[in-house]
Symmetry: C2
Subunit: 116 residues, 2 copies
Amino acid sequence: MRFGDHIRNVRETLRKGDKKYSLRQVAIRVGVEPAYLSKIERNVFPPPSEEVIGKLSAELGEDRDVLLAMAGKLSGDLQQVILERPRLFADLIRQMKEAPDQAILRVVREVRDGNW
Amino acid sequence: MRFGDHIRNVRETLRKGDKKYSLRQVAIRVGVEPAYLSKIERNVFPPPSEEVIGKLSAELGEDRDVLLAMAGKLSGDLQQVILERPRLFADLIRQMKEAPDQAILRVVREVRDGNW
DNA sequence: TATAGTGTGTAGTACATTATACACACAATG
DNA sequence: CATTGTGTGTATAATGTACTACACACTATA
């Protein structure tokens, strides 16, 4: 599914329970022109900037990284982490490319629990 | 050190052993205007595109990911890997942010050796 | 039925990115 | 000493990114 379709789906779903989720009102709360959001939702315009996607994710209760991914963008803070140790993280990510979800989850947990 | 300085250093070093590494000749082999490479090396222009950096890294025998990092860019193929499973990789990277190099290396080796 | 709210069409803008083209002065080489 | 090669200055451009402004027709509400 495209970025715009997803935003529209989520917003329309929220709207059923709360009239505050009209395109116009969401646009204003997020800080963009309603016409702009309209075009984004219909995929007439490409997804907006990272900043706007961030506000949109907060507003709609969606995962920021997932929305960014649907927009083909990678969060700036994650990029920063990688760019500080490029060789290490390049290896890590390329190694994890083929790994099953389970394996990645296990690594995350192990590192979080301090097993290193 | 800035991107341009590094490129100039590496190129000038190579040049001492081989006259083929003049700015002009490298530029031509890489496929850009010499004047452009000149500006890049003096940081008059920002670093070039990922594509040009790729060719430059091959030409100068430098690590592609490191050069890209110096340019503030993240390799497109790495982005792809992350964007396919954004939640998983976002967690992984944020978890690894504070981890010492050793820990990351260990994980890379363990996964490579199939210990999962 | 006036008014307020809704989504959208058309048009235009500001800025960044990623370069090219050409001319020039200087150095090296045959 | 003419030619070839060198790095650089100035000017320009094509494309992409990320929007705004405004008018319009339709719908719901009071």
